[in-house]
């Protein structure tokens, strides 16, 4: 096998980058697998930072009237914890899975627009860096006319208006300084990254499926990617516009959300949650997809009710746009609106229930292999059910007016987003570890990680249910001793540190196994989907021969038939088929053209933070730098030669 880089037939000022190893190969890569890996590491880095922020919050709350943090620091920490976990950890870690797996699951060699994929990643990186530069450059302080006893330190110089940025508190008058501008513009930049990848994935799924991969033969994870991409495409423009309004209010004197200028602070809530609720499903649907892959594999049974699970996913995505005002039951929306949104919220429980029962149907009667990914998937079901049930109590509008803005809600959405999304993500990280690295992870450490996380998670978020119902209000820097909330707050803090410990175990396992783990066999899980029909780690070109799909779970059916009772029976020729697949996967017999690396995605992306700073500091030079970078990126992108393709030829 040799790689030949053909010289350009067309003269151009730019040459495509050609490094295959080293830092430049990563910076210029357009390979969906490498982009996926970079997404994963960057998101995990932010997950650690967000977790650190959570631990800081929990230390402050371990005692009533504690003074570990100042109010300014506490408010900055909870704002950054929420913003980081949602926009910089869970969303991009899902993007990591989408990037790495989507082309493999549909039998494609890359996504539809490889350079756009790289652009999306780099915009995410620059957006995250921009947002976090607030700790260096940002300023925050007391509302106009208010007094502080001490300076706001660097820790308090971060956005402090909450991840929800409710107006007018997050406006200039009540949140002076630049920190909230970093928040608004940072989210704007991150939104661009998500929009680009959403369109990329939609196009990829529609156009790049291999022969025979009809829609109803796609793996559920691919379906959920599809649903999430549509959710992103429809919900992000709403928040983009709302964030522009906020930035205009703060920087240029408009009054979209300010009462004194005829604006409406409640309008912000409508816009925010019209994005914000679909966002919840953007965070959870990828985990639904992962679990729907893991459960059948380790139950050795097909997914129970494939079509129902797919349609339930889309049902959830669709209804998800009609429930936003349940975040606002304490606002003065009319009783009719309250009833309407309460009922629509109840309705969304139905497709969610369908999924849960179908998952139970999948494992029922199976042969369950209780390894780490399976444990996380089973844990996901258990924890997500709790989050789902407490979610239904929010749809009981009168009850919600007691629960809203208390720790009960904090408990609820952590059961959904941590017990749900994050458990699903960990399940996926272990499940596809052999695929990505060609090594096996350490099963014992994986199980220790699971049990520590399960215990820590429930200690942390379980007590929050009754803490909230018995009066602990969210986003409060201190609580009075007389509220008698101390005991369970200590338990919660201890739980948070157990979670931190479990994450350390995970990291040790990851680093150790990636270096010294056993070599992964070709198909370690006896799995069902196409990504397991190629060697591990995945070759650069994915598929040597484009697979032809004849049914759902095609790879499984090449290995297994059914006896008259309907039990799976391994085909005699299965081992031979696997050997052939591996041989073919490593040695492509046809000429494979892969997309070229490119310098320009990162150049183009690097212009955006400059534009952000330009708006914050109203600086023309910064705006010029940003614009020039965008122009260079765009021009270079448009004019770089396409012919210089990397060809992979067979060894002859």
């Amino acid at each position: 096998m040799t790689k030949i880089i053909e010289p350009s037939k067309q003269s151009s000022i730019f040459r495509r980058p050609s490094s295959e190893t080293g830092i430049w190969s990563w910076i210029t890569t357009v390979d969906h697998k490498r982009i996926g890996i970079m997404y994963g590491y960057a998101a995990f880095f932010f997950l650690l930072i967000g977790g650190l922020e959570a631990l800081i919050l929990r230390i402050q709350l371990s005692q009533p009237d504690n003074n570990f943090l100042t109010a300014a620091e506490y408010n900055a920490m909870f704002t950054m914890h929420g913003t980081t976990m949602i926009f910089l950890a869970i969303m991009p870690i899902s993007a990591a899975f989408f990037n790495y797996l989507l082309p493999l699951q549909i039998g494609a060699r890359d996504v539809a627009f490889p350079r756009l994929n790289a652009l999306s990643f780099w915009i995410f990186i620059f957006g995250g860096a921009f947002l976090y530069s607030t700790f260096i450059f940002g300023t925050a302080g007391a509302p106009e006319g208010g007094y502080l006893a001490e300076e706001v330190g660097w820790l308090g110089s971060a956005p402090n208006g909450g991840w929800f940025g409710y107006q007018p508190n997050a406006g200039m008058k009540y949140s002076p300084g630049t920190a909230m501008d970093y928040w608004a513009i940072g989210l704007q930049i991150l939104g661009i990254a998500s929009l680009i990848s959403a369109f990329n994935f939609i196009t990829t799924i529609i156009n790049m499926r291999t022969e025979g991969m009809r829609f109803m033969r796609m793996p559920v994870f691919t379906w959920m990617t599809f649903a999430v991409s549509f959710l992103l495409a429809f919900s992000l423009p709403i928040i983009a516009i709302a964030l522009f309004y906020v930035t205009f209010d703060r920087k240029f004197g408009t009054t979209f959300f300010l009462t004194e200028g005829g604006g409406d602070p409640i309008l912000w809530q409508h816009l925010f949650w019209l994005f914000g609720h679909p966002e919840v499903y953007i965070l959870i649907l990828p985990a639904f997809g992962i679990v729907s892959e893991v459960l059948p594999t380790f139950s050795r049974k097909p997914l129970f009710g494939y079509a129902a699970i797919v349609f339930a996913g889309f049902g959830i995505a669709f209804i998800g746009f009609g429930v936003w005002a349940h975040h606002m039951f304490a606002s003065a929306i009319s009783p009719v609106a309250q009833a309407g949104f309460g009922l629509s919220t109840m309705v969304i429980a139905v497709p969610t229930g369908v999924k849960i029962f179908n998952w139970l149907g999948t494992i029922w009667g199976g042969k369950l292999k209780l390894n780490t990914p399976m444990l996380f998937s089973l844990g996901f079901i258990g924890m997500f059910v709790i989050g789902g049930l407490s979610g239904v109590t929010h749809s009981i509008v009168p009850a919600d007016t007691q629960q809203t803005d208390t720790y009960y809600v904090v408990a609820h959405f952590h059961y959904v987003l941590f017990g749900g999304a994050l458990f699903g993500i960990f399940s996926g990280l272990y499940y596809w570890f052999p695929k990505v690295w060609g090594k096996m992870y350490n099963e014992s450490l994986g199980k220790i990680h699971f049990w520590l996380m399960m215990i820590g998670f429930n200690l942390t978020f379980g007590p929050m249910h009754w803490l909230g119902l018995q009066g602990q209000v969210r986003r409060t820097w201190v609580y009075a001793e007389e509220t008698n909330l101390q005991f369970w707050n200590i338990v919660v803090t201890v739980g948070a540190f157990i979670i931190a410990l479990s994450i350390i175990v995970f990291m040790i396992n990851w680093i150790f196994s990636k270096r010294n783990g056993e070599k992964a066999p070709f198909d370690p899980w006896d799995a069902r989907t196409l990504e397991w029909a190629i060697p591990s780690p995945t070759p650069v070109w994915n598929f040597s021969t484009a697979p032809i799909v004849k049914s759902l779970d095609d790879f499984w059916h090449t290995k297994y038939s059914e006896d008259e009772e309907g039990r799976a029976v391994r085909r005699e020729e299965a081992d031979q088929i696997l050997l052939e697949l591996e041989e073919d996967g490593l040695n492509p017999s046809e000429h494979i053209a892969l997309p070229n690396p490119s310098y320009f995605p990162i150049v183009l992306a690097s212009g955006l933070p400059f534009l952000g700073y330009a708006v914050i500091y109203k600086s023309i030079p910064l705006a010029l730098i940003g614009t020039v970078l965008l122009l260079i990126g765009g021009f270079g992108w448009g004019t770089e030669p396409l012919e210089e393709e990397i060809h992979i030829d067979s060894d002859e």
């Binding site: 408010n75 007094y147 009540y174 009833a339 029922w364 009850a399 803490l467 009066g471 009772e565």
Partner: protein, 356 residues
Amino acid sequence: MITLYIVSTLFLIIVDNINMLVKNIFKLKNLKFSALILLSACIENAPLDSLSPEGPYARSIDELFWLTFWIAVVIFVIVQGALLLSVFVFKEKPDSPEPKQIHGNTKLEILWTVIPVIILAVIAVPTVRTIFDLANEPEDALKIEVIGHQWWFEYKYPDYDITTANVLVIPADKPIRLEMWSNDVLHNYWVPKLNGKRYLVPGQTTYLNLHADSPNEFWAQCGEYCGLSHSKMRGRVLALSESDFDTWVKNQQQNANKLEGNSLAAEGQQVYLNAGCTQCHVIDGVWDVQGDRIAPNLTHFANRNVFAGAALYNNEENLSKWLANPAEIKPGTFMPNLELTEEEINALIAYLGTLK
């Protein structure tokens, strides 16, 4: 397959009986107590406890919550039970046969789509009814205006021409209609033992009903994040018997007397008049503020057991801490550090003590 049908039949039977089950639970009020034991986690004497209602509004919410809670418990037990059962029964053993390749079961799937719909319909009816009940303006309600400020609640009684702060005084066993708005950012008024929360919005009037069964003191807290000292935007609701309430009203309608002479309190009045307090604080009969009244009315300050957004009990120790540097206690506060001397602070405290 047979086991599947058994499980689903059991499921059906239980769901059929939910209504009865729930009714029985409500007949036996003690069961509510056993629910607390079940949770065994519940905190006693939590002043912001939404699970111990002390008025009809909060009670109707509480009943709805427990109805939902018990239904949720049943579903929880069924689903987690099925999950654990499958894990234990179908765990891989050396002799496990390959499983049957079941792709689904339409009847079963329809069943577990329809059953949740029925359960939700059962919850939906009382929910919608309670929504409208809670929104109705009660007859013969006492109207009180609640105005949110960063970070304290102001109360006005238009019928009695009273302005006060931090402590909302109401007659017990009488419906109260709160008309609320905000002077700055969003706030959220919450007296968990009397009703749910309602926003205070700048430029918009919102309404909330309260009704306390009997004379008692209740805690209030701002629910919505409203900036630096959101945590310390608290309050008290004091429900008084009818006669006590009348006495309170009469007292509140009195102006403060201007103090003369050389007492410490009179010195304190001079401090109040000269040190800068008069920029924002009204004391009826002594000083009226020109322009916006952005700070609590102090006319009957000594009558209130808490101050500074109900973050502090009204006693000498707390007052001297507060007056020495308000921002130390409530970061972001609009009350400046007036750099008062210790003597001035002591005099002011003596004066404030006379404002009954």
